[in-house]
Symmetry: C2
Subunit: 263 residues, 2 copies
């Protein structure tokens, strides 16, 4: 059965970092670095769905100069917290995250899940302060993209500007879909939609769309979907009884995507 760690390791090995997480400029001066080390975005497997999408090689190289560091975040640790000053956005290179919003009153809520290739932190731009916690669901690595540098480059490279705007807009559309899900569907429909969404995102990344491991708990899923963890569990059991899928703890095998979609 597919394990997300496989994908993680593959992505990792595609780089030239050889197991070193933190990347320091002084350890790799431009003069000495081999050319493929100067085009790290160019060798990244997530290139096609990341910031570098639709850029030409020379432009990717300039973007590389902006992405000056990586950061590794261990499972359960926070990439940033609500209230932290906003300085950078982050592209998930390896692993996955959840974002948690804690309102003044009321219980905290999962506002999103992010896997390799997704971008995090764009909520911080408007108030120059992050407004949620980003927590690693497994040991992860992100590209750190200082926002003022990215903005400067966007003023020079039109396709990059367009790409940033599309990413921001895509986040708006994604959340608007989630709002609709939360506002007008049954628990069964929410769980089905969630599984299909995860499935589609694995497919986009070249992994199996029918067989995967969920990195988050039932409680996380419930919080994200606006139902209780018991309802998530019961719904998965029901889907299994109906032959729509096989569930074994966090391992999921989807047996009938169309039937799930029909919910």
């Amino acid at each position: 059965m597919f394990d997300m760690h496989t994908g993680v390791d593959a992505a990792w090995d595609s780089t030239d970092m050889s197991g070193t997480f933190a990347r320091r400029e002084d350890a790799m001066p431009a003069e000495q670095a081999p050319s493929h080390a100067r085009t790290r975005c160019a060798t990244c497997m997530m290139r096609s769905i990341c910031m570098a999408a639709s850029l030409e090689a020379s432009e990717v190289a300039r973007l590389d100069n902006v992405v000056q560091s990586w950061r590794s975040v261990r499972q359960g640790e926070r990439l940033y917290r609500a209230g932290d000053p906003f300085r950078s956005i982050y592209a998930v290179r390896v692993g996955s995250f959840k974002t948690v919003v804690a309102p003044a009153r009321g219980k905290e809520t999962i506002s999103g899940f992010f896997m390799a290739g997704d971008s995090l932190g764009m909520d911080g731009i408007c108030l120059e302060t992050h407004n949620c916690d980003a927590i690693a669901l497994e040991d992860s690595v992100v590209c750190v993209i200082p926002f003022h540098l990215l903005e400067a480059l966007c003023r020079e490279i039109k396709p990059l500007q367009r790409q940033l705007h599309k990413m921001l807009s895509a986040e708006i559309v994604r959340e608007s879909r989630q709002m609709m899900l939360l506002g007008s569907t049954s628990a069964e429909q929410r769980v089905a939609a969630f599984l299909l969404s995860v499935s589609a995102r694995y497919r986009e990344r070249g992994y199996s769309a029918t067989s995967f491991v969920l990195r988050m708990t039932r409680e996380d899923i419930g919080s994200f979907l606006g139902v209780t963890l018991e309802t998530v569990s019961r719904t998965l059991s029901k889907f299994q009884q109906e032959g729509l899928l096989t569930v074994q703890g966090k391992s999921i095998e989807l047996l009938n995507l169309d039937a799930l979609d029909a919910r």
Copy 2:
């Protein structure tokens, strides 16, 4: 009691359009136009919460060249529809709108309400196609902002670029809040939060925060909040019985903001 039309007319009268809705460049050549007509953003009452926020006078003037037309939309008419090609974003100058998302299956949902000073259509950037309908809740006027021109100007004016990014990010945060509301609060809390949100937006615009007219139906509110129109109605009645507010059809008077917030 406060009537939104009062505000509408005030905003309208602050312009030099003298009742002419459609604005045509040929009717007002730069040479003949008085200087205050060349700085239409500069005289707009919504300037401080719109695209022009934090710009200097000379920059506002350049933005004005991008905002080449207005468009009037009668109550119930659509500013754009889901599937329309995306070309412009819109700033509400007069009136108000709702946006409606119609999923492949399932019933359509109100995804947002927009009043004077708010911007619409940013959801269209990512797929270059609008993904919802924008419907006028009353006779309204919007500034049409061709997006490719705005992008070009953002590459030249750093504060404008920053402002656009903040607006996009603010939309993300707004929707993320709405997701939390839909996912983890009771019907009462949703209605209370909705009223407080409307109240705050009127206050921002210089109107009464405690006395206003809702431009949308109970059904619209219910759809936006993920509850039925009956639940909205019952909740308003209950709040009235408890002395938190007075409700007379669409006219609302909030009597105890703190108690509403405590829900």
